[in-house]
Amino acid sequence: MSVESYIRKPNRPLQLYAAIFLITLYLPVLFLPLFSFNDSLYVRFPLESFTVRWYVELFARDAVWNALWNSVRVGVAVALVSTTMGIFAAKAITRYRMPGKGPVVTFIMLPLVVPLIIFGVALLVLMSQLGVPLSLYTVAIGHMIVCLPFSIAVLIPRFEGFDASIEEASADLGENAWWTFWRVTLPMVGPGVLASLMLTFTVSFDEFILAFFLSGTQPTLPMYIWGQLRFPQEFPSVLALSSIIIVVSFVIVFLGQWINRGAISASTSGDAS
């Protein structure tokens, strides 16, 4: 350690910068929970007294529960389908040498970069031309476009991280492809699968842009919040609802990333180009 100390010596200004960076990253979001416990219609300092009435009020609203239920249904469906497709795709991308793999991977990762409004608008046009009414199904299709590349990006490092010869050994010992996958591959990539399920669920649960164009009469939770933003008197209850969503999302994503740690840095090299 001490041999290369001239590079490794702590850099105080940089440490300070990193601390300020992290605080700035989290601070704006932390104001939401802070003001959600404030007993005032207005979001401003100085704070009034502490209250939980905005939260209590939320529980009594049917519209919130309906929107929550819609978001959960879409999120679970999207997480399951996109992770299932993601497992096969990630296995193919890591395990097989195929001509044209580069362009294929680029195409799959495209939704991470292309502005979502384009996908939203294009799907809206398709649905209206086909005469398909907008519903939670159309929202789910939109969300799958975004979640599939995320799922694959999470899973690829998992497949890269374990030795293909274990799968071959299983095949040599007489297991067929299905059982090899079920008993060898899946347990090995398990943490990645779990992380993919949690992350895609959260992305779908929190997604707004596609839902804005593709949802019909049943709003998802972000759509419900968007609708409430027009009413100044609803501001505190929107703060309370946002706080709950943010805390839950942070916990799920943190757990997902933590389960899958060790694979994060590798996943970024794949989709960066």
């Binding site: 290369e4 001239y6 590079i7 490794r8 702590p10 940089l14 440490q15 910068y17 990193a18 992290l22 704006p28 979001v29 104001f31 939401l32 207005y42 979001v43 401003r44 300092f45 299932t84 096969f88 795709a89 296995k91 193919a92 991308i93 097989y96 195929m98 793999k101 362009p103 294929v104 195409f107 799959i108 970069v113 292309v114 409004i117 384009i118 996908f119 608008v121 294009a122 799907l123 398709l126 799958m144 476009i145 929190d206 707004f208 842009i209 804005f212 164009f213 972000p222 968007w226 929107v238 703060l239 946002s242 943010i246 999302s249 990333q257 740690r261 994060i264 840095s265 970024t268 960066a272």
Partner: protein, 310 residues
């Protein structure tokens, strides 16, 4: 791209009647096996991206007529785009805002990525998870949080007022270009950090030691070794921030006001209140073409830089 999808599609199509032959083909050919596994993802993305996009292109040559469309093909919408200065002004403002956001994000994130790559030795993963965590959570709510912070009676204004630093609320904070730039830079920071981190992490530390041994100070070492070697990361980070922000409409809608409106807002309005879908389609296509052109420049730049480095 499409013929590969077709190829794998037709391969799986023959699976039913002649499973034995297909099974052997699958067993022998890596390519066939790989594409069979990729089929669900590729077919889904092909249908959900390429088909709608094709229809969007066709619709951009239609014209709106009352509540329906005149489906005769004409370039009317594109002519409109070039004839009426508002469209061009909005597009160039969009690219201006996105450009500023990109520069701000990359400049602010670079030291952070550098810190994690070179100065964090234990719990690197914890740091990366911490930095990327907000990116996964609700974009709408993060923008909404900035509205709370920057608002006329928001966190900054009311805090400054109660301390007595200002007499009246600062009006330029909300509903302005600056508000949009701050919010977007904050929202996309995590996306920029990862490619920067990866490119910095890849740098061979012995090069830095060699530079130091040969008499370079920390500043010269940074500009002669670290920065050039991390340029691919800087370019991909710029691309990853610039492209998605050009299509944003939530941030300008919530924080932008009249000065901060972007092309995304107009596209959204064409599909909403203005109800001129063909014009909205044309604007989307124009935005896509501009993005494609800019990406091409960035990619050429990456290739050039890579060649220079290696």
């Amino acid at each position: 791209m499409t013929d590969q999808t077709l190829q794998s599609g037709s391969a799986s199509g023959t699976a039913g009647p002649r499973a034995g032959w297909f099974g052997r083909l699958i067993y022998r050919s890596e390519t066939a096996r790989g594409y069979t596994l990729l089929t669900p993802a590729l077919v889904f993305l092909g249908v959900a991206i390429l088909v709608p996009f094709g229809i969007l292109v066709v619709m951009s040559f239609w014209t709106a007529e009352g509540f329906g469309f005149d489906t005769t093909l004409t370039t009317h919408n594109y002519e409109q785009f070039f004839e009426r200065p508002i469209y061009m002004a909005l597009l160039s403002r969009t690219f201006g805002i996105s450009g500023m956001v990109t520069i701000a994000t990359v400049l602010l994130c670079y030291p952070m990525a550098y810190y994690v790559a070179f100065h964090v030795h234990r719990n690197k993963m914890f740091w990366l998870v911490l930095i990327t965590l907000p990116f996964w959570t609700s974009y709408l709510l993060r923008v909404f949080a900035w509205k709370v912070v920057l608002g006329y009676e928001g966190v900054i204004n009311s805090a400054l007022l109660s301390v007595g630093l200002i007499e009246a609320p600062l009006e330029f904070l909300l509903y302005s270009k600056q508000a949009v730039i701050i919010t977007l830079a904050h929202a996309w920071a995590a996306f920029a950090i990862l490619p920067l981190y990866v490119s910095l992490e890849k740098i061979d530390k012995s090069l830095l030691e060699a530079a130091t041994d040969l008499g370079d100070g920390p500043v010269r070492r940074f500009f002669r070794i670290t920065l050039p070697l991390s340029l691919p990361g800087v370019i991909s980070a710029s691309l990853l921030v610039f492209i998605p922000t050009t299509g944003d409409y939530i941030t300008p809608a919530l924080l932008g006001g009249p000065d901060g409106a972007m092309i995304g807002n107009l596209i959204q309005k064409q599909f909403g209140p203005i109800n001129n879908w063909p014009m909205g389609a044309a604007l989307s296509i124009i935005l896509m073409l501009c993005i494609a052109a800019i990406s091409l420049i960035f990619i050429m730049l990456t290739l050039f830089v890579r060649k220079r480095i290696s």
